[in-house]
């Protein structure tokens, strides 16, 4: 028996489009990009529209509000967990976006979270904004009536 530990280190290149998204968080903004053909808005964009294969060059600033398309209550502890369990992980579809992303949901009892819940982003203090989604502290209910299922059924 012998151990032959292998470790390789890499420098990740975010790319032009995702860098714009990440720099947006430094300014407290959600930055997406629009496909010139199908007009879908991706956040974050990797630079191309995965449907059309075209550069998503048009920058779109998205609002702080969105809809929970689906969610998961995390009850299982795991290595590196930074949030106290149980907590809620939601798929957030920002208003005007055609791609949802994962976000932490707070300020709502766990048994009240639901699909279609309208939420808003709560940012960390401006002096802590950086090129990372961690600049968004969490999402919380905005108090608006729930979104109609038809408005988000394509994004589950």
């Amino acid at each position: 028996m012998m151990d032959a530990a292998t470790r390789l280190d890499y420098v990740f290149t975010a790319g032009v489009a995702m860098s714009k998204n990440l720099h947006g968080y430094e300014q407290g903004k959600f930055i997406g990009q629009r496909c010139p053909k199908c007009k879908k808005v991706y956040i974050p964009s990797r630079g191309s529209c995965p449907t059309d294969g075209l550069p998503t060059d048009e920058i779109v600033e998205l609002p702080n509000t969105g809809t929970v398309t689906t969610y998961c209550v995390v009850n299982v502890p795991f290595a590196g967990q930074s949030i106290e369990i149980p907590y809620i992980c939601g798929q957030i579809l920002l208003d005007g976006a055609n791609l949802s992303f994962m976000g932490l949901l707070q300020e709502i009892p766990i048994d009240e979270v639901r699909m279609g819940l309208r939420v808003e982003a709560v940012w960390v203090p401006p002096e802590e904004w950086g090129p990372t989604l961690a600049s968004v502290k969490y999402f919380r209910p905005s108090g608006e009536p729930d979104a109609d299922y038809e408005t988000y059924k394509e994004y589950l």
Binding site: M2, A4, T6, L8, D9, Y10, V11, F12, T13, A14, G15, V16, A17, M18, S19, R46, G47, S48, C49, P50, T51, D52, G53, L54, P55
Partner: protein, 361 residues
């Protein structure tokens, strides 16, 4: 009726009709893989006025080890846009092997055109370390030997056997970098004599700096088309009259590193010696390897070897092999060659080799 070159019985004529490659650079800092591939895919289609809707198959070549993330080939498909769903495949190898898979599918006759692309970056990690993990995991990989050190053992074996000298290596490098001066995609090109190159210090003896490939970020793409479709898309398609690939044992100690029996066999199966060869594009990352390959393929002295400068001019991982096929096709399109031999390699010291013979009518 269009004319096609003579093919092995039953084979369908399939030709290279378009080729594009990224500007080979030491380090692409701004763009990610998708952003690098998009203009190349647009160019390879744009050259012949088609779109993704005109190809029945997409095959890519890459390796996750270079990027350090899983399923990077799936993400790379965003550069093409695969909606509605497309017939698609991937090889964990140089794009030349992806081209082989596409060629096989085209032989079946259900589709008439295919897109082949590949991408790889040398800059995201320590390339020497990354390539060492492809070695056998028991005896070699734990020693972390980098490809240059292994290539140096091969070069030293040639010297010991008396089949080549350091001056021969320098002559290959000098000629290749001079040829590269006329290749706008070359990363390293210069006009320096072999005598001057021999004054360089050793990187790993007996290899000096000139005998090593550059570290390159890049990507490339090719469109293949069959039968009449090839003539619709290209005035003089570079038809594949033979293609074959062979591999040798992963145990370096069990190989005669001074020869390449896998290249020899692949060359015979692909029919290299059947007629005069005008141009040979050989994927020889290290200068001395070109000598081994030329010998294995039985190339005559009048063959123009690596007019593009070869892998010594630019060596984008997973793409340098497909680029040899693309450069060979360009020589046929332009009329510079009627018959060309393209070669791609993979693994340490020319372990695996693909040979593709291209002909124009």
């Amino acid at each position: 009726m269009s004319q096609f070159p003579a093919l092995t019985s039953g084979h369908r004529p399939v030709g290279v009709v378009s080729f594009a490659q990224y500007d080979n650079v030491r380090r692409e800092e701004a763009r990610n893989e998708v952003e690098m591939l998009m203009p190349v895919v647009a160019e390879v289609f744009g050259n012949i006025g088609i779109t993704k809707d005109d190809v029945g198959f997409i095959c890519s070549g890459s390796t996750d080890y270079l990027i350090g993330g899983p399923f990077s080939f799936v993400a790379a498909l965003d550069a093409v846009g695969v909606w509605p769903p497309r017939a698609e495949s991937h090889v964990e190898a140089d794009g030349a092997w992806a081209l082989y898979e596409a060629w096989v599918l085209l032989q079946e006759g259900e589709i008439d055109a295919a897109l082949v692309y590949c991408f790889g970056r040398s800059s995201m990690g320590d390339l020497g370390q990354i390539l060492s993990v492809q070695l056998d995991p028991y005896y070699l990989a734990p020693l972390w030997p980098d490809p240059t050190s292994l290539a140096a053992l091969q070069a030293q074996a040639m010297i010991d056997k008396g089949t080549a000298s350091e001056a021969d290596f320098a002559a290959v490098a000098s000629r290749s970098r001079r040829s590269a001066l006329s290749n706008p995609k070359a990363q390293v090109a210069y006009d320096r004599s072999p005598e001057e190159l021999l004054k360089e210090d050793y990187e790993v003896a007996p290899l000096r700096r000139h005998a090593l490939p550059p570290l390159t970020d890049g990507c490339a793409a090719v469109v293949l088309a069959a039968g009449e479709r090839a003539y619709e898309l290209c005035e003089r398609p570079a038809f594949i009259t033979g293609i074959d690939h062979r591999i040798e044992t992963h145990s370096l100690g069990a190989r005669d590193l001074t020869a390449s029996p896998s290249t020899k066999l692949a060359g015979e199966k692909a029919g290299v010696g059947a007629k005069k060869v005008d141009v040979a594009e050989l994927h020889a990352p290290y200068a001395h390897q070109e000598l081994i390959l030329a010998e294995a393929l039985g190339l005559a002295d009048d063959v123009a070897v690596n007019p593009s400068g070869g892998a010594l001019a630019a060596n984008p991982m997973m793409s340098a092999g497909l680029i040899r096929i693309g450069e060979s096709a360009r020589a046929i399109w332009s009329g510079q060659a009627d018959r060309a031999v393209a070669h791609a390699t993979s693994g340490p010291c020319l372990q695996q080799n693909l040979v593709c013979v291209l002909e124009g009518v």
